[in-house]
Symmetry: C2
Subunit: 482 residues, 2 copies
């Protein structure tokens, strides 16, 4: 293991994190909030620590980054971002407890959106900007991770879903990753900017428009308001959110191709079709069956259903109404939706539509195989047969996902958390959604959970965000034996 190069890259990452902390200062100045010293101290000291690590590890004999180094950089990188990113909250005192600050920051960088803040609106502007920015940066990281790095590492069938990305091959990591990152980030920035302009047109102020477009495109879900997006009751703004949540939950290669006028890809993309149909059909069904239970107008009923189905399914986690109380069955339906996840190659977390598609299709074909045991019946995805290795990998992913969710729920129960809250909290954290059910439901937060539960859930956010295997590998003995 080439620890020096790992530490060098992590050091560079920490320098950047420190720098980004300073970006909220203009808003602190504009709103006259008192968080400027805290942001300056946190940002500069973080960058300094990063710089020391970077300078000490600069002279590495080998410049080669192998697979195993890749896994470690990703996992340690995300943990470092959360460890250092929590500093401004502590220094200012907005979150006095480090466990809480770490939870909040991990929730940011993993684009989960679960929060321990009981009063968001007392947090000063610069800090709130930093809080939203953690999600936007996390989203940037995830796009490159899922479309450029994980496919090379062979994680969870990601090689399948990213085969269409220009410039991705099973080659050396370095030069291609940089090229892909630039292309995808360009799109990410353009989409964020477009949403921001639309939110401004909808009547939001600049600060809210920027922070919310950050957390939409990251499928993060942090809001600057205590009532989350329910604060903005304008239907126009809610439709903008719905549209951009759907964009954020799409494979970014689709955006890339669309920007280059190649719309034919939409037609043949299996996952995209499944994703769009699922969202609209589920929203329609919920709108119809909950209508007798709520006092919504029919347009509002459709909008609220679509908003929350999109919000949960894309793993954004925005809340515009207490969906748990829409009808007796809402809780179960929204719990089940926590397990969907956006598309592969999006900023969304969770199991993801591509995997669900492969699993459902393979399950149905398994029935066919029982009747025709000698026939070779492959699963087709985007018009191509999926290899048995990838199917097996996707199956193993799903089984790990469910198994780890059950283990997590049992562990949370042991800390004294009730059944529904434990199940909801683990499912929403491993799925990087944000709100759960029970006492961590859409109108509550995670503040009241015991500290040990917050550490467990922080770990689950990381697990889910890094597609399980990246983190699990590091715990496997085989990883450490050469």
């Amino acid at each position: 293991m080439n620890y020096k190069i790992i530490a060098n890259i992590i050091g560079f990452l920490i320098i950047l994190i420190g720098f980004f902390m300073l970006l909220g200062i203009p808003f602190s100045v504009y709103y006259g909030t008192d968080d400027i010293p805290a942001l300056l101290i946190s940002g500069l000291s973080t960058s300094l620590i990063g710089f020391i690590i970077w300078i000490l590890t600069r002279k590495s004999e080998k410049k080669e980054i192998g697979k195993r180094e890749g896994y470690l950089i990703v996992t340690v990188g995300w943990i470092s971002m959360a460890l250092f990113g929590a500093i401004p909250f502590i220094v200012y005192g907005a979150i006095p407890n480090y466990t809480d600050a770490f939870f909040e920051t991990m929730s940011g960088f993993t684009t989960t959106g679960a929060t321990i803040l009981t009063d968001i609106e007392v947090v000063p502007a610069g800090l709130l900007f930093w809080r939203s920015l953690t999600q936007w940066l996390g989203g940037m990281g995830i796009i490159v991770l899922s479309l450029a790095i994980l496919p090379i590492l062979g994680i969870g069938g990601m090689q399948l879903f990213s085969a269409e990305v220009p410039g991705i091959t099973k080659d050396k990591l370095h030069p291609r990753v940089r090229e892909t990152a630039k292309r995808l980030w360009g799109i990410y920035v353009i989409l964020t900017g477009t949403e921001m302009i639309l939110l401004l047109i909808g009547g939001m102020n600049l600060f809210d428009a920027i922070t919310h477009s950050f957390t939409t495109m990251a499928t993060g879900g942090f809001s600057t308001k205590n009532a989350s997006t329910a604060y903005f009751q304008s239907p126009f703004i809610q439709y903008v959110f719905i549209l951009f949540m759907i964009f954020a939950g799409m494979n970014f290669t689709i955006h890339y191709l669309a920007f280059h006028g190649k719309f034919e890809f939409l037609k043949m993309n299996t996952e995209f079709r499944f994703y769009i149909i699922f969202i609209f059909v589920t929203a329609a069904v919920i709108a119809i069956i909950h209508l007798p239970h709520v006092d919504f107008h029919w347009e509002e009923s459709i909008r609220q259903s679509l908003f929350h189905v999109t919000s949960i399914v894309t793993t954004t986690g925005y809340v515009s109404s207490d969906y748990e109380n829409w009808a007796p069955f809402s809780r179960m339906i929204f719990f089940a939706l926590l397990f969907m996840g956006g598309c592969a190659g999006s900023t969304g977390g969770g199991i993801k539509f591509a995997r669900h598609y492969v699993l459902i299709k393979n399950g149905l074909l398994e029935l066919k195989r029982l009747i025709h045991p000698r026939a070779v019946i492959p699963v087709r995805f985007n018009g191509k047969a999926v290899s048995a290795d990838i199917i097996s990998n996707v199956q193993a992913f799903f089984i790990f996902y469910i198994g780890l969710t059950v283990i997590g729920a049992v562990l949370l129960s042991l800390t004294g958390i009730d059944f529904i809250t434990a199940a909801g909290a683990v499912a929403t954290c491993i799925g990087n959604v944000g709100p759960g059910i029970g006492t961590v439901g859409p109108v509550s937060n995670f503040a009241h959970l015991p500290d040990v539960a917050k550490w467990i859930l922080s770990f689950y956010m990381l697990l889910g965000r890094l597609e399980l295997f990246t983190v699990l590998l590091i715990f496997s003995p085989a990883f450490w034996h050469k």
Copy 2:
């Protein structure tokens, strides 16, 4: 499809079912209960209907039973048993509603043990005997199904777990099945008789000893007492139950080999080791962590933990104390245990230890495969490498199991059932356990659920009992196309 031979076999089965209904009459006579006419009418008319079906379909041109006929016979057979087996409850009036009677009988023949009876002790002896007998007969059916029929049909990796059964090959169904059935049933009868004698020694009367040994060996869980097995507070009787639940949850080939003095098989049997270790470790952990929450003596704490872990894990479902209230976390732990299941080739239902073992092992090896992508790293079971086909089949089984459980929980929610009860009811029915959590918990029953929920749950009992695929196949278009 050779419908004639299918109907002929089903007809014969119905004749038998009618005959078995009469077996409780001696107890009706002894206890002087008034259910003799009901049993006579039900039994004779059932047999008559069976006889008519049998005689009308006797002359089939082809005697061949293919795979597809096999699937249909199994599924239609189990449904017919429940349809006709419900008649005595209706005729006597012990269960006035056919939905309830069907649910109770399906719960019997699938050895689930979920009940809609709110007062079991008012049901007359002959009917209670029939109720217990449905489970014992269901258990008989399941042993032959899982060890002789499903392996030939290639269901859910069962071919793997039964490879050690004498006389099983991938050959024609007919002669071998009969031979295997005889051998396994002999053991089933001997074990049931032994338990009965021990229960008599423990102080039970003959009626209770017979009915409870029936429902233990079937991992069924029906009791003749309102308080379930909590009625028998003798530690000796409880230890007898624990021992025979463990026996019932074991692969019956192990019993077969043990009866022939071949104990070396115990040492190399992967599933058996996993099963025994899991039960004792889990019981020990629960005993330790629940001790501060309950007013049990330490021996009673261990006994109660062992009793309930064994009861749930083997999918028996006997209850000797309200484990849901032992501690805040009990509900989650016992919910998770609903997903274990006994060993393959036992009378237990659920996912089963062999499958859990293969899934866990394969998951861990998947991590190893990511690091060494070119290495071929097989899963070993009973000392042999498991083929990729079987692993894929087991994975598909698990994914179907979880997916169907989620769908079932959503459907139950739509009928207005609360989250915890819906999750518990589906999990306990597809796992053929019996008691769930929430309002279908260990000290409650299923009577208060809406009718549609009872039909859904009856279907789930059948699904679980027939290892999912047997039933699902019939819904697949490929099954009906030649």
